[in-house]
């Protein structure tokens, strides 16, 4: 039998190691900074089409996540999707005429709301609405347009396709 002191010390080290691991797992590999319950204010935007945007998706400005999508519903009066976003209170200087666009992270990544700053002196307040919006890029529509422009090129050679303008 080992002495009580050795047992107590090893047990202490073991317990400390266990709690240190738990602490590491909670603080280092989880993302808490923008949980919805932190202080935030609500902003609304109406989109014609939100694609596959989900509740909880990021709201980002210049690539920095500043909030989360809190709820999505359909306004049956105008047949538009109403996206309510919770924006972290530390970001309270977003111009009122900023525009919101639904973007995709990577080719197959999830969708998020990207906000681009406008030039107004006034800032977005709790319950405010972003008027300038840009809908989600629906891949099917894009392919249809592409197919249409290709078939147009066959008949109408005077029209330059978009791909060549970049050269």
């Amino acid at each position: 039998m080992r002495s009580t002191r050795t047992i107590e010390m090893s047990t202490g080290l073991f317990v400390l190691l266990g709690f240190a691991s738990l602490f590491f797992l909670v603080t280092q590999i989880t993302n808490r900074e923008l949980s919805v319950d932190s202080k935030s204010y609500d902003v609304e935007a109406r989109f014609e089409n939100i694609g596959s945007l989900k509740v909880g998706a990021a709201v980002s400005m210049a690539g920095v996540t500043i909030g989360r999508v809190a709820s999505i519903r359909l306004d049956q009066g105008v047949y538009k999707a109403v996206v309510r976003m919770k924006i972290n209170e530390t970001y309270d200087k977003i111009p009122a005429d900023s525009d919101a666009a639904i973007m995709t992270s990577g080719l197959l990544g999830g969708q998020y709301v990207g906000i681009t700053a406008g030039g107004a002196e006034e800032y977005l307040k709790n319950g405010g609405r972003i008027e300038l919006v840009q809908d989600a890029l629906v891949l099917e529509n894009l392919i249809n347009q592409l197919a249409a422009s290709f078939s147009n090129r066959g008949s109408d050679t005077g029209k330059q396709p978009a791909a060549q303008e970049t050269k």
Partner: protein
């Protein structure tokens, strides 16, 4: 007709066993307040089933993590998504592999030790001797071992997961060249605190189950050399089956 009777017999045996284990658990719980007044006994048992299992847990953690990294990379790189390896590996370790593998190892390392120790006490009449001295063997022997095991397993599982992530990182980042920054940042963005608590709850449940089975099997062992051997074997078999079954049920409940 005979098979029906056998089936009925088996079902009755099963019900009796479940009942006996539950009674034993209640008996230990009744002694809980008094057992806590002697923490040195519990500390000793945390040392026996926790600290002494640490090395095997850490070694297995590294290798499980490494194999998750290897297999995950192999699959994800087909889709060009090897940066997501961190997310997949962290969730797999936190929610399934960590609690389950730790519980299985715990049943093999600490559970067998508990069962054979108590069984041998039974076989050498030490438990009867305690009763003669008006010392309740449940209070003196069973409860501290049960508590020690139930406390140790969640801690071991957390250590296992931490070490496992290190193993994943070792293979994925150091060897296969996944970008370290996106490995960690994607993991951080996708893993929620709930995922950690899910794993913690699971390992607490497994801790109670594994320790209970080990202590019960040892305590009720037939007092012969063969009986102690059978109690040890049954501990591992029953713990493993129960852990895997409960794991499925807990996962089903948690994903709702």
């Amino acid at each position: 007709m005979n098979t029906f009777r056998e089936l009925f017999e088996n079902l009755r045996e099963f019900a009796v066993a479940v009942g006996a284990v539950t009674m034993f658990l209640l008996r230990m719980l009744r002694h809980l307040p008094r057992a806590i007044t002697r923490p040195s006994l519990i500390v000793e048992q945390i040392y026996n089933s926790g600290a002494l299992s640490l090395v095997i847990i850490m070694i297995c953690g590294v290798f499980i993590g490494a194999v998750v990294g290897l297999q995950g990379y192999e699959v994800l790189q087909r889709f060009g998504a090897e940066e997501s390896l961190g997310v997949g590996a962290a969730l797999a370790l936190l929610k399934e592999l960590g609690p389950v593998v730790t519980a299985l190892l715990f049943a093999g390392r600490a559970g067998t030790a508990l069962a054979s120790e108590i069984g041998l006490m039974r076989a050498t009449d030490q438990l009867t001797a305690m009763e003669m001295m008006a010392v309740d063997p449940v209070l003196r022997v069973a409860v501290p071992r049960f508590l020690g095991g139930a406390i140790s397993l969640p801690l071991l599982a957390m250590i296992f997961i931490g070490i496992g992530l290190y193993g994943v990182q070792l293979i994925a980042v150091q060897q296969l060249g996944v970008d370290a920054a996106s490995f960690w940042s994607q993991m951080r963005a996708a893993v929620r605190v709930d995922d950690v608590t899910d794993g913690l709850v699971k390992s607490c449940v497994f801790g109670v189950v594994c320790s209970l089975i080990a202590v019960y099997e040892g305590y009720t062992a037939i007092p012969t050399a063969e009986g102690v051997g059978r109690a040890t074997t049954r501990t591992v078999v029953i713990s493993a089956v129960l852990v895997l079954m409960l794991n499925y049920m807990l996962t089903a409940v948690m994903l709702r």
